[in-house]
Symmetry: none
Subunit: 196 residues, 4 copies
Amino acid sequence: MGGRLEQQKEEKKQSLLQSARELFLEKGPGKTSVDEIVRRANVAKGTFYLYFKDKNDLLQSVVDRICTHILRDAYEYEQRHKNPDFVENVVLIIDYIVEYFKRDKLTLRLLERNFSWPMVERNLTLQTDSLWQDLVRDLEASPLARNHSPEEMFKLLFMIFELCGSICYASIIEERPDTIDNMKPMLYGAVRKMLQ
Amino acid sequence: MGGRLEQQKEEKKQSLLQSARELFLEKGPGKTSVDEIVRRANVAKGTFYLYFKDKNDLLQSVVDRICTHILRDAYEYEQRHKNPDFVENVVLIIDYIVEYFKRDKLTLRLLERNFSWPMVERNLTLQTDSLWQDLVRDLEASPLARNHSPEEMFKLLFMIFELCGSICYASIIEERPDTIDNMKPMLYGAVRKMLQ
Amino acid sequence: MGGRLEQQKEEKKQSLLQSARELFLEKGPGKTSVDEIVRRANVAKGTFYLYFKDKNDLLQSVVDRICTHILRDAYEYEQRHKNPDFVENVVLIIDYIVEYFKRDKLTLRLLERNFSWPMVERNLTLQTDSLWQDLVRDLEASPLARNHSPEEMFKLLFMIFELCGSICYASIIEERPDTIDNMKPMLYGAVRKMLQ
Amino acid sequence: MGGRLEQQKEEKKQSLLQSARELFLEKGPGKTSVDEIVRRANVAKGTFYLYFKDKNDLLQSVVDRICTHILRDAYEYEQRHKNPDFVENVVLIIDYIVEYFKRDKLTLRLLERNFSWPMVERNLTLQTDSLWQDLVRDLEASPLARNHSPEEMFKLLFMIFELCGSICYASIIEERPDTIDNMKPMLYGAVRKMLQ
DNA sequence: TATGAATGAGTATTCATTCAT
DNA sequence: GATGAATGAATACTCATTCAT
């Protein structure tokens, strides 16, 4: 009993989310109308407002999902290439993200500089997710933890991610002050120094 | 060199710029209409398009002016408090900017994370301005210059400013991940490490 | 006579009526959606249409009930304060209504100028209700009945109630052309003259 | 200098007013969209908002004009059929209005019970208009003026007009409690009594 | 140069009603 | 009887830009 209806509802929501993501990437959220979204999702206009408060609410959901996805992949990547040095593991994560945005400029443009601490933060804090629990464990086991409280370490990571987001946007989207490939050594250098 | 006329034209442009700045700060550029701008500037609608290509062009000008202003003040502040250590002079500049945004959240909100390397960059490169020529001279005279090419040093500074802008926005506007006062030690620590 | 079921149905209807009345008073019928009504009544959307043809039907019912209620109270009041003069008894009823609306502007606003002869009229005509039968008996026994047919007397009363509704609305809601307290003497004077 | 542009502007406004009046009469203000109004007026959507704050503002203007027009005609009619008795002159005005609404039910429906004291009142008070100045003079010269202050007399007239509006609406539109022709004697009787 | 009237495309959101379960 | 998900028509209003004067 029961599943059918719930399932159909979930499908509609997913359809909306999917269509919106595509259109936001193609034309930007500002230039995307609710009309287009529902048309592409094959859903009635009113249905949209059954699942989302307004266009911004939907945008938020889309961005959240994208960020979560990227971060999860980044962490998995780090797990697969793990090495003994904590600092290098962080660089690994940053590098994954940089490479991701190099391949997917559209997403970077959508996220603008807003990449994701909302997400990271929430995940780190809630720790509902075993992936992040592991990351936290790694953090706390790192040599850095000797000189820093957990809170300080979070702030440090926060700064690193903000820096990463800003530099990606500036260099990949605007080639400012140079291409990302020319910025990478300096960026990673900065990350390493910050974690000393 | 028909002074009178030129002067009147300049006044209109300034008036437009001034009104726009006020309104952008009060309500954000998105919620400010060209109509309101010209009304406040006491200028006819059509006149607007004699001086600016479109609303975005105007926004750009407003932001440029604000950034230039802040940076100039920051540099002057640094000149007045100069000390022998190059790194600490950079921290001085950053600190001035942070304190400025603490006092003037509205401006920070307007600039968003977009604070201003557009400006700095251009100025540093063009070097039309004696203030910046001095900064460049200082840069090149610093111990850092021994291990870094001028270009690398610019990039390093670029990263520092981006980091500063991002952290100001996150912490001052959204108190994320903490208040700016609690973030400051970490931020300045990061800056110092990056310049080692 | 399956009491239980009938009772539950009646409860739903009452609940709908009650919620609607509250909302109509608070926000006006135009600004009240069926959605809100059913939500407040703890009833499913579809259920609404089991009990009422549409929103207007419900509004009609609400207004009817309110008018019936006020008129019943007005008549009871008159019965308690009865005096030998028929004209003064009518003034008593009018005064009760005026005072009621003075206390309850929200209801007056909902009724607008539409106060209620729909109700009175119907009741007087149908005479299903012993209260009104008494009023009619009083009417027919009054000195006025000597010069007027019963029909004329109804019309006269109709006019008096319409006048009362209009003046209440104008003076209580809009203080036009003056406050109700300043209008009262003139209004009651007019009523007395009309009944001469 | 001059006229041409102002004239064109006035024409647009008139066109809007005219189209709106037609549509409001045909379908009611609620069922008339701004779209339809501008289409019929051959004017762009935005132009509408150059001349009127919103649909309600326009409705207000339309109603004002109609009321002014009817009242002016009523007064002129009275002037043409003037007789020595003040009371009968008032009845003349009321009768003109009743007959007008008998012929033009659409307008009555549009006005609903809201006929027009806004207008009368304003006109009487402002007295910018010689027609109304005459009416006021007549009022003050009438025998009634001996027992009543000017203010009381205005209130009395106000009540008479409200009664007239209510009874017209009820009897002409809804035949409640009877046709207007059957109500007329009673209505005029009431007016005469009220002015005694 | 300067004006400001005119434009009309563009969009988010609401809501009464239905109907499959 | 009861539900509540789905519908999609309907609508007011904004605003950047142009162009005749």
